[in-house]
Each structure stands twice: as C-alpha cells, then as structure tokens.
C-alpha cells in the first residue's frame, strides 16, 4: 500500500516537472507570464488605497489584513492552478474522450489527469501571495501557517472543480456550472468577509466555501484559534474525499469519444 502511494507521488511529481519544463522552453514568455500576473494582482491595491482613504476599516479588516487576504486568495488560486491545472478543464476532457490514455495506465486516473499540465501564470499568483505575506509580516510561524493554508485552499478549489466537472459524466452542457462555481470561489475571495451579511455570508461558509479557503485562514494567522484551524483541515479532507468519490462514480458512465453530438 505504501509503495503504491509512493509510486503515485513519484509519477505525479515527474509529470508536473515535465510539464513545467515544457512551459520553460520559451524563457521570455515564461518570465513575462509570471511577472505580468504579479503586476496584475498588484494593480488592485489601488482600489483598496482609495477605499481606505474613505474609512479606516473595511469589513473589520485593517489595510494590512486586506493585503494578507489578497495573499491568501492568490496563493490558493496559484496552488490549485499551477499543480492541478487540468482540474479546471476537466469537463472538456470528459466530454471529448481525453481520459483514454490515462485509463490504460496503472495509476489513479483522476490524479494523473489533473497533474498532466501546469499553468505558468499561476506561479505569479503564488509569488504574489508570498510578497503579500512578507509585507504583512513574515515569521516562521506565519510562514508555516500560510503554506499550510494555501495548500488546503488549493486542494479545496481543485476538489470543487473536480466535483462540478464530474457532472459532465451524467449531463451534457454542464461545463458552464463548473465555470460558474470556479468564478464564485475566486470573485468573493478578495473582499473582507465583514462586508457580507445574511444569506450571502451564510453561502460563503457553506456552498461557496470561500470562508474556509481564505477568510478563516486570515483570521487564524492574525489570531490563532485551534478550533478554526481544525475546521479548515477537516473540510479539506471532506472535499478531497467527495471529489474522488464523485469522479469515480461518474467514470463508470464514461463514454470516451463516442458521445458525439449528431447533427440532422
């Protein structure tokens, strides 16, 4: 059992390494992509400078905490999209029968597919996340917590995309649902949770768990709370389990490239 896990990890890392090598074939494009993503995220600071010129706190956050929030959001996004890029186009892979070559390999299909490519610009997101952490105040303690949280958050984002994309095994035209779900997770993540009330707030800690991926981590890094910490870990495990269960349930209905739309 242990060797199986070890071999699976080895092949996943190898796959990510090769995919990264492919991205680095053109050095200029590679570096430009990373830098532009850092600048892209940085440009939104202007918005917060203006907002904090109106009030000293927005949603109970100080300006420094907003920077940490941005660091958290882009860090989780970066982890998910760099390591598991293909989880975000899984609907297309299922619909167009591109799982075939992974199904004939003696490895976990889901894992093999999602690590088969990397997103260069997501490296910029991760880099930006660390820059924000440094501005917020980096200590060994915040660094360890931060790394742990972006990994958990990245895994949750990936799991959500896998779960929603797996709907494609059952229904056609569900790629829009997956896309919307992914957008929801990204859009809410860069605004302090204090500005949301009622139904929206309830949604953010349940069906759109931005609360777990970004808001709680920011609170825990600011002020440690063991219960909240455990909740994040627990929710991550639940989401990963669900992702695997639903994907493999759907895989039985996989129809390769045979499910084409017939025109009449």
């Amino acid at each position: 059992m242990l060797t199986v896990v070890k071999n699976q990890c080895r092949i996943s890392f190898l796959s990510i390494k090769y995919a990264l090598m492919r991205e680095m074939l053109n050095k200029t494009t590679f570096i430009t992509n990373v830098i532009f993503m850092v600048l892209n995220n940085a440009s939104f600071i202007i918005q917060w400078i203006v907002l904090y010129s109106l009030r000293n706190d927005i949603g109970g956050y100080t300006f420094r905490q907003v920077l940490l929030l941005w660091g958290m959001a882009s860090g989780t996004y970066g982890v998910a999209h760099f390591f598991f890029k293909k989880a975000f186009s899984l609907s297309d892979i299922i619909n167009n029968g591109k799982l075939d070559s992974f199904l004939v390999q003696p490895k976990n299909v889901l894992l093999s597919v999602i690590v088969s490519d990397v997103e260069t610009s997501a490296l910029g997101d991760m880099l930006y996340g660390f820059i924000m952490l440094i501005i917020y105040g980096i200590t060994p303690y915040t660094l360890i917590l931060y790394c742990l949280f972006i990994i958990c958050g990245g895994l949750i984002l990936t799991s959500i995309s896998v779960i929603l994309s797996s709907l494609s095994f059952w229904f056609s035209k569900t790629d829009m649902i997956a896309e919307t779900g992914n957008n929801l997770m990204v859009n809410f993540a860069t605004y302090p949770d204090g500005i949301f009330k009622g139904l929206v707030k309830a949604l953010l800690f349940t069906f759109i768990p931005v609360g777990i991926t970004t808001f709680i981590p920011v609170h825990v890094i600011t002020e440690f709370n063991i219960n909240l910490f455990i909740i994040v870990i627990l929710v991550t495990v639940i989401f990963i389990t669900l992702a695997f269960l639903i994907f493999f349930r759907g895989l039985k209905r996989y129809s390769s490239s045979n499910l084409m739309v017939a025109r009449i």
Binding site: I46, Q47, N187
Partner: protein, 263 residues
C-alpha cells in the same frame, strides 16, 4: 456608407445564435454586483451620506453602467482578432478591397456586440432596480443623451483596441499593451468615478480615455446635466477623430512596411 451598414447588419444577424453565451456572462456580472452592493453598503454608514459628491445608490448605478460597457465590449478577443489579421498577413489582402479596413473592423465589431450590449443593458437595469428599488431620475431626452454617449464610448473603445491590435505591425505580440489598457480601465475607470481619486490625479484621468469610455456615460446616467453632456460629447468627438487617425496612420505605415518586405 451603405456597404458599412451592410457589414454591420450581417454581423448582427450571424451573432443571433450566440445569444446563450451572453447568459453565462450574466452570472459573473451578477456576482460582481452583489459584491459591490455589499461593499458600498458597508462603506456608506447611512444611505443618505454623500461621499465625494455621490450617494450610495449613485455609486452602485455607476458601477452597473461601467460594467455593462466593459462586459459587452469583449475587447480581448477583438484585439486578438486584429493582431491575428496583422500577423497572418490577411490584412494585406484587404488593401485591394473596395473598403476601408478600419471602418470595416469597427462596423463588424459593433455588429457582433449589439445584441450582447442590449441584453446587458436590460439585465443591468433589472439588477439595479432589484437591488435599489428605483432608477435615477432621467427625462426621455436625457436618456437619449446617455445612450448616445454610451454608443460613442463603445465606438472609441473599439477604435482604441483596433489601434492596440495594429501594434502587431511593430511588435509581434500586442497582448501586453491590451493588458495595460484593460487594467487602466478596470482599476481606474469602472469602480470609482474620477472624483474619488486624489486631486493631483484627476486632471490626468480627465484627459485619459477613461473619461470618454467609462466615466462619461456612467456619470451622465447617475447625475445628468446638459452641461456635463456637452463637455463629454465634445471630448468623445475629439477622441473618435484622434483614435481613428491613430488607427489609420498605423495601418497605412504598417501595410507599407508589409509590402516592402514582400508580405
């Protein structure tokens, strides 16, 4: 002129079948509006407060209008199309055709976005009404004025993006320039009106494209005055002329260069 109208019409008809794709965009638009509604409700401690000359309702309507203009523009794919025309050399074939390339791409883009624009206007007004329960007070005449300045804003955006796309004559990839332009508009032009920025930046913003492509129509919608309209209208006319000239000169020079190199 008739042939450009024809180009516009045929693009309009052929885009009817993609109506469903617009609905997908509505979801993202709606999320953004929910966020801004919450954000401004938090920043404005009471609904009657006025910050930098704007009430809370006006701030929300402002972002509704600027986002309509931005979302229905679909600028990135249009910019890619122009650069692709340049890079593939397709643009050289257009020289011998009896129409002007700049006007052709302007009309075909307007044609392909019209339905989308109308749908966004309806959806945006609906969202605003549901959130706030009322519309800004506007007379029929001023509504027409707002529409005119919106259409002009659309035309200027299209021409400016055409200009950026034509950069491909000089530098192979114009994407970074488009990126800078889109950041400029999104960060400085859609969320806050110019009055929200520090005094020393305001004149720069007033002369920048932001004033004519997003601030102008939105400002008129939330706080209409004929005085403002005339200012914005004149600025837009000047911008259309400048943007068109920029496109035309870049196109002429680029095509010449292309011919010298043998295409």
């Amino acid at each position: 002129m008739r042939k450009y109208l024809f180009i516009y019409k045929s693009e309009l008809m052929s885009n009817l079948q993609y109506v469903f794709n617009v609905f997908a965009g509505f979801i993202g638009y709606f999320i953004l509006m929910v966020i801004f509604l919450n954000l401004w409700k938090y920043v404005y401690s009471n609904p009657d407060e006025i910050i930098n000359g704007y009430s809370m309702n006006q701030m929300i309507w402002y972002v509704i209008v600027t986002e309509i203009l931005w979302s229905s523009l679909s600028g990135r794919s249009f910019c890619n199309k122009i650069s692709e025309d340049v890079r593939s050399g397709n643009i050289a074939y257009n020289i011998n055709k009896p129409y002007n390339y700049i006007l052709y791409s302007l009309m075909s883009h307007l044609g392909s976005r019209t339905i989308c624009f109308i749908m966004y206007v309806i959806f945006g007004m609906l969202v605003g009404f549901i959130f706030l329960g009322s519309f800004p007070t506007l007379s029929i005449l001023s509504i027409i004025a707002v529409l005119i300045s919106s259409i002009f804003a659309f035309i200027i955006s299209t021409l400016l993006i055409t200009f950026i796309g034509l950069f491909s004559f000089v530098i192979e990839d114009s994407a970074p320039f488009y990126w800078v332009y889109s950041k400029l508009i999104l960060v400085l032009g859609t969320i806050f009106p110019i009055e929200y920025f520090p005094k020393f930046i305001r004149p720069i913003l007033t002369f920048s494209p932001i004033y004519v492509v997003s601030y102008g129509p939105a400002k008129l919608f939330v706080d209409f005055s004929w005085n403002n309209f005339i200012f914005i209208f004149i600025a837009q006319i000047i911008y259309i002329i400048i943007a068109y000239m920029l496109c035309f000169v870049t196109y002429k020079k680029g095509v010449k260069k292309l011919n010298v190199n043998g295409g």
